[in-house]
Assembly symmetry: C2
Homo-oligomer: 128 residues x 2
DNA sequence: CAGGATCCAGCTAGATACTG
DNA sequence: CAGTATCTAGCTGGATCCTG
Protein backbone atom coordinates (compact mmCIF):
# COMPACT_ATOMS: atom_id res chain seq x y z
CA UNK A 1 0.00 0.00 0.00
CA UNK A 2 1.20 3.47 -0.86
CA UNK A 3 3.86 1.92 -3.06
CA UNK A 4 5.66 4.74 -4.79
CA UNK A 5 7.39 2.96 -7.60
CA UNK A 6 7.68 5.43 -10.41
CA UNK A 7 6.59 3.06 -13.12
CA UNK A 8 3.57 5.10 -14.06
CA UNK A 9 0.58 3.03 -14.99
CA UNK A 10 -1.46 6.06 -15.88
CA UNK A 11 0.79 8.61 -17.53
CA UNK A 12 1.03 6.78 -20.83
CA UNK A 13 -2.74 6.59 -21.19
CA UNK A 14 -3.46 10.15 -20.14
CA UNK A 15 -5.02 11.15 -23.45
CA UNK A 16 -8.01 13.50 -23.62
CA UNK A 17 -10.15 10.77 -25.17
CA UNK A 18 -9.43 8.28 -22.40
CA UNK A 19 -9.98 10.91 -19.71
CA UNK A 20 -13.31 11.74 -21.25
CA UNK A 21 -14.24 8.08 -20.97
CA UNK A 22 -13.10 7.93 -17.35
CA UNK A 23 -15.12 10.99 -16.50
CA UNK A 24 -18.23 9.60 -18.14
CA UNK A 25 -17.94 6.39 -16.16
CA UNK A 26 -17.24 8.22 -12.93
CA UNK A 27 -20.31 10.36 -13.50
CA UNK A 28 -22.29 7.20 -14.20
CA UNK A 29 -20.99 5.34 -11.19
CA UNK A 30 -20.28 8.19 -8.82
CA UNK A 31 -23.83 9.09 -7.98
CA UNK A 32 -25.43 8.33 -4.67
CA UNK A 33 -27.15 5.01 -5.38
CA UNK A 34 -25.96 3.30 -8.58
CA UNK A 35 -23.20 1.25 -7.01
CA UNK A 36 -25.34 0.22 -4.08
CA UNK A 37 -27.89 -1.12 -6.54
CA UNK A 38 -25.22 -2.94 -8.54
CA UNK A 39 -23.70 -4.42 -5.39
CA UNK A 40 -27.09 -5.53 -4.14
CA UNK A 41 -27.83 -7.24 -7.45
CA UNK A 42 -24.50 -9.06 -7.27
CA UNK A 43 -26.10 -11.85 -5.27
CA UNK A 44 -28.76 -12.47 -7.91
CA UNK A 45 -32.00 -11.06 -9.34
CA UNK A 46 -34.19 -9.00 -7.04
CA UNK A 47 -37.61 -7.44 -7.22
CA UNK A 48 -38.32 -3.74 -6.80
CA UNK A 49 -39.41 -3.65 -3.18
CA UNK A 50 -36.80 -6.24 -2.30
CA UNK A 51 -34.14 -3.81 -3.50
CA UNK A 52 -35.91 -0.99 -1.70
CA UNK A 53 -35.62 -2.84 1.59
CA UNK A 54 -32.04 -3.97 0.90
CA UNK A 55 -30.72 -0.47 0.24
CA UNK A 56 -31.06 1.55 3.39
CA UNK A 57 -32.42 5.05 2.95
CA UNK A 58 -33.22 4.98 -0.75
CA UNK A 59 -36.54 6.52 -1.76
CA UNK A 60 -38.85 4.87 -4.22
CA UNK A 61 -38.34 7.66 -6.68
CA UNK A 62 -34.56 7.40 -6.54
CA UNK A 63 -34.64 3.60 -6.88
CA UNK A 64 -36.82 3.92 -9.97
CA UNK A 65 -34.59 6.57 -11.50
CA UNK A 66 -31.39 4.70 -10.70
CA UNK A 67 -32.70 1.43 -12.12
CA UNK A 68 -33.86 3.16 -15.31
CA UNK A 69 -30.47 4.78 -15.79
CA UNK A 70 -28.65 1.48 -15.22
CA UNK A 71 -31.02 -0.25 -17.62
CA UNK A 72 -30.50 2.42 -20.23
CA UNK A 73 -26.75 1.92 -20.06
CA UNK A 74 -27.10 -1.84 -20.39
CA UNK A 75 -25.84 -2.60 -16.88
CA UNK A 76 -29.13 -3.91 -15.52
CA UNK A 77 -31.82 -6.07 -17.09
CA UNK A 78 -35.51 -5.52 -16.31
CA UNK A 79 -37.87 -8.46 -16.70
CA UNK A 80 -41.60 -7.91 -16.33
CA UNK A 81 -43.99 -10.73 -15.50
CA UNK A 82 -47.47 -9.43 -16.32
CA UNK A 83 -49.44 -10.90 -13.42
CA UNK A 84 -51.69 -9.48 -10.74
CA UNK A 85 -50.01 -8.09 -8.77
CA UNK A 86 -47.27 -7.32 -11.30
CA UNK A 87 -43.82 -8.79 -10.81
CA UNK A 88 -40.62 -7.13 -12.02
CA UNK A 89 -37.23 -8.72 -11.62
CA UNK A 90 -33.98 -6.79 -11.93
CA UNK A 91 -30.65 -8.46 -12.57
CA UNK A 92 -27.15 -7.53 -13.66
CA UNK A 93 -26.24 -7.97 -17.30
CA UNK A 94 -22.79 -9.31 -18.19
CA UNK A 95 -21.71 -5.72 -18.68
CA UNK A 96 -23.01 -4.87 -15.23
CA UNK A 97 -21.19 -7.79 -13.68
CA UNK A 98 -17.96 -6.87 -15.41
CA UNK A 99 -18.13 -3.42 -13.86
CA UNK A 100 -17.93 -4.83 -10.36
CA UNK A 101 -14.29 -5.77 -10.78
CA UNK A 102 -12.78 -2.28 -11.27
CA UNK A 103 -15.21 -0.90 -8.71
CA UNK A 104 -14.09 -3.55 -6.25
CA UNK A 105 -10.50 -2.46 -6.88
CA UNK A 106 -11.52 1.03 -5.85
CA UNK A 107 -13.19 -0.50 -2.82
CA UNK A 108 -9.98 -2.24 -1.80
CA UNK A 109 -8.10 1.04 -2.11
CA UNK A 110 -10.79 2.75 -0.04
CA UNK A 111 -10.53 0.20 2.76
CA UNK A 112 -6.74 0.23 2.78
CA UNK A 113 -6.43 4.00 2.83
CA UNK A 114 -9.45 5.12 4.81
CA UNK A 115 -7.35 5.75 7.91
CA UNK A 116 -4.86 7.86 5.94
CA UNK A 117 -7.65 10.02 4.60
CA UNK A 118 -9.33 10.38 7.97
CA UNK A 119 -6.14 11.47 9.68
CA UNK A 120 -5.30 13.84 6.82
CA UNK A 121 -8.72 15.45 7.24
CA UNK A 122 -8.31 15.73 10.99
CA UNK A 123 -4.90 17.35 10.51
CA UNK A 124 -6.24 19.77 7.90
CA UNK A 125 -9.26 20.74 9.96
CA UNK A 126 -7.13 21.19 13.07
CA UNK A 127 -5.21 24.05 11.45
CA UNK A 128 -8.52 25.86 11.24
CA UNK B 1 -13.71 -8.43 -21.63
CA UNK B 2 -17.18 -9.17 -20.38
CA UNK B 3 -15.82 -12.38 -18.86
CA UNK B 4 -18.64 -13.99 -16.95
CA UNK B 5 -16.78 -16.42 -14.77
CA UNK B 6 -18.81 -16.83 -11.66
CA UNK B 7 -15.89 -16.56 -9.28
CA UNK B 8 -17.23 -13.48 -7.62
CA UNK B 9 -14.57 -11.05 -6.58
CA UNK B 10 -17.06 -8.77 -4.93
CA UNK B 11 -19.68 -10.87 -3.22
CA UNK B 12 -17.45 -11.95 -0.36
CA UNK B 13 -16.60 -8.37 0.49
CA UNK B 14 -20.08 -6.97 0.18
CA UNK B 15 -20.29 -5.87 3.81
CA UNK B 16 -22.02 -2.63 4.82
CA UNK B 17 -18.77 -1.25 6.17
CA UNK B 18 -16.88 -1.83 2.93
CA UNK B 19 -19.72 -0.42 0.87
CA UNK B 20 -19.71 2.68 3.00
CA UNK B 21 -16.03 3.08 2.22
CA UNK B 22 -16.61 2.59 -1.50
CA UNK B 23 -19.37 5.16 -1.50
CA UNK B 24 -17.23 7.68 0.33
CA UNK B 25 -14.45 7.26 -2.20
CA UNK B 26 -16.83 7.42 -5.14
CA UNK B 27 -18.27 10.63 -3.74
CA UNK B 28 -14.72 11.95 -3.33
CA UNK B 29 -13.60 10.89 -6.77
CA UNK B 30 -16.86 10.99 -8.70
CA UNK B 31 -17.25 14.73 -8.88
CA UNK B 32 -16.70 16.72 -12.00
CA UNK B 33 -13.09 17.84 -11.58
CA UNK B 34 -11.15 15.87 -8.96
CA UNK B 35 -9.85 13.17 -11.24
CA UNK B 36 -8.92 15.61 -13.97
CA UNK B 37 -6.80 17.44 -11.43
CA UNK B 38 -5.18 14.24 -10.19
CA UNK B 39 -4.48 13.08 -13.74
CA UNK B 40 -2.99 16.44 -14.66
CA UNK B 41 -0.71 16.34 -11.63
CA UNK B 42 0.47 12.85 -12.60
CA UNK B 43 3.15 14.34 -14.80
CA UNK B 44 4.60 16.39 -11.95
CA UNK B 45 4.01 19.51 -9.84
CA UNK B 46 2.04 22.33 -11.38
CA UNK B 47 1.14 25.88 -10.44
CA UNK B 48 -2.39 27.19 -10.08
CA UNK B 49 -2.82 28.87 -13.43
CA UNK B 50 -0.89 26.12 -15.12
CA UNK B 51 -3.54 23.68 -13.92
CA UNK B 52 -6.25 26.12 -14.93
CA UNK B 53 -4.97 26.13 -18.48
CA UNK B 54 -4.40 22.36 -18.54
CA UNK B 55 -7.94 21.48 -17.48
CA UNK B 56 -10.30 22.62 -20.15
CA UNK B 57 -13.42 24.37 -18.92
CA UNK B 58 -12.67 24.51 -15.21
CA UNK B 59 -13.46 27.80 -13.51
CA UNK B 60 -11.05 29.41 -11.08
CA UNK B 61 -13.48 28.92 -8.26
CA UNK B 62 -13.91 25.22 -8.96
CA UNK B 63 -10.17 24.66 -9.28
CA UNK B 64 -9.65 26.29 -5.89
CA UNK B 65 -12.38 24.25 -4.26
CA UNK B 66 -11.24 20.99 -5.84
CA UNK B 67 -7.62 21.55 -4.84
CA UNK B 68 -8.64 22.38 -1.26
CA UNK B 69 -10.73 19.24 -1.01
CA UNK B 70 -7.93 17.09 -2.40
CA UNK B 71 -5.46 18.73 -0.03
CA UNK B 72 -7.76 18.15 2.91
CA UNK B 73 -7.96 14.46 2.10
CA UNK B 74 -4.18 14.19 1.81
CA UNK B 75 -4.17 13.47 -1.91
CA UNK B 76 -2.53 16.71 -2.99
CA UNK B 77 0.28 18.72 -1.44
CA UNK B 78 0.24 22.54 -1.55
CA UNK B 79 3.56 24.35 -1.34
CA UNK B 80 3.62 28.12 -1.05
CA UNK B 81 6.65 30.19 -1.99
CA UNK B 82 6.10 33.63 -0.47
CA UNK B 83 7.44 35.80 -3.26
CA UNK B 84 6.06 38.65 -5.29
CA UNK B 85 4.14 37.58 -7.24
CA UNK B 86 3.28 34.59 -5.04
CA UNK B 87 4.05 31.10 -6.27
CA UNK B 88 2.07 28.01 -5.26
CA UNK B 89 2.97 24.53 -6.45
CA UNK B 90 0.59 21.62 -6.27
CA UNK B 91 1.71 18.01 -6.42
CA UNK B 92 0.37 14.55 -5.73
CA UNK B 93 1.17 12.98 -2.39
CA UNK B 94 2.01 9.28 -2.25
CA UNK B 95 -1.61 8.67 -1.31
CA UNK B 96 -2.72 10.65 -4.34
CA UNK B 97 -0.41 8.70 -6.62
CA UNK B 98 -1.63 5.39 -5.24
CA UNK B 99 -5.19 6.35 -6.14
CA UNK B 100 -4.35 6.55 -9.81
CA UNK B 101 -4.01 2.79 -10.10
CA UNK B 102 -7.61 1.78 -9.25
CA UNK B 103 -8.90 4.78 -11.16
CA UNK B 104 -6.88 3.72 -14.18
CA UNK B 105 -8.49 0.28 -13.90
CA UNK B 106 -11.86 1.98 -14.15
CA UNK B 107 -10.50 3.91 -17.12
CA UNK B 108 -9.54 0.69 -18.89
CA UNK B 109 -13.02 -0.68 -18.29
CA UNK B 110 -14.51 2.55 -19.61
CA UNK B 111 -12.49 2.41 -22.81
CA UNK B 112 -13.19 -1.28 -23.39
CA UNK B 113 -16.93 -0.99 -22.82
CA UNK B 114 -17.77 2.44 -24.10
CA UNK B 115 -19.22 1.05 -27.31
CA UNK B 116 -21.43 -1.41 -25.40
CA UNK B 117 -22.83 1.40 -23.30
CA UNK B 118 -23.38 3.68 -26.27
CA UNK B 119 -25.26 1.04 -28.23
CA UNK B 120 -27.30 0.07 -25.15
CA UNK B 121 -28.31 3.71 -24.78
CA UNK B 122 -29.22 4.01 -28.44
CA UNK B 123 -31.33 0.84 -28.22
CA UNK B 124 -33.07 2.05 -25.04
CA UNK B 125 -33.79 5.50 -26.45
CA UNK B 126 -35.04 4.04 -29.72
CA UNK B 127 -37.94 2.29 -27.99
CA UNK B 128 -39.54 5.67 -27.39
C1' DC C 1 -46.52 -4.58 -6.22
C1' DA C 2 -44.31 -1.39 -9.02
C1' DG C 3 -44.23 2.57 -10.14
C1' DG C 4 -45.83 7.81 -12.22
C1' DA C 5 -46.55 12.81 -11.09
C1' DT C 6 -45.66 16.93 -8.29
C1' DC C 7 -43.55 19.92 -5.34
C1' DC C 8 -39.71 21.64 -3.07
C1' DA C 9 -35.11 22.18 -0.23
C1' DG C 10 -30.34 22.08 -0.67
C1' DC C 11 -26.22 21.58 -2.98
C1' DT C 12 -23.14 22.24 -7.27
C1' DA C 13 -20.96 24.80 -10.11
C1' DG C 14 -20.54 28.84 -13.33
C1' DA C 15 -20.09 34.05 -13.95
C1' DT C 16 -18.49 38.16 -12.26
C1' DA C 17 -16.06 41.46 -9.50
C1' DC C 18 -12.48 42.41 -6.34
C1' DT C 19 -7.68 41.78 -3.46
C1' DG C 20 -2.76 40.99 -1.23
C1' DC D 1 -0.26 35.15 -9.56
C1' DA D 2 -3.34 33.08 -6.67
C1' DG D 3 -6.79 33.49 -4.82
C1' DT D 4 -11.71 35.42 -1.94
C1' DA D 5 -16.60 37.06 -2.10
C1' DT D 6 -21.12 37.23 -3.98
C1' DC D 7 -24.96 36.04 -6.75
C1' DT D 8 -27.57 32.76 -9.15
C1' DA D 9 -29.29 29.01 -12.54
C1' DG D 10 -29.78 24.34 -12.63
C1' DC D 11 -29.54 19.83 -11.06
C1' DT D 12 -30.08 16.09 -7.25
C1' DG D 13 -32.61 13.94 -4.37
C1' DG D 14 -36.34 13.56 -0.69
C1' DA D 15 -41.47 13.73 0.62
C1' DT D 16 -46.00 13.09 -0.64
C1' DC D 17 -49.94 11.69 -3.20
C1' DC D 18 -51.91 8.89 -6.79
C1' DT D 19 -52.66 4.55 -10.13
C1' DG D 20 -53.03 0.03 -13.04
Amino acid sequence: MLSDRHTDVTDAEHSPIRCQAVNDILARVGDKWSMQVVMSLSAGPMRFNELRRAIDGISQRMLTRTLRALERDGLVDREVTPSVPPRVDYSLTMLGRSLREPVAALGVWAMENRSHIDSARARFDAEE
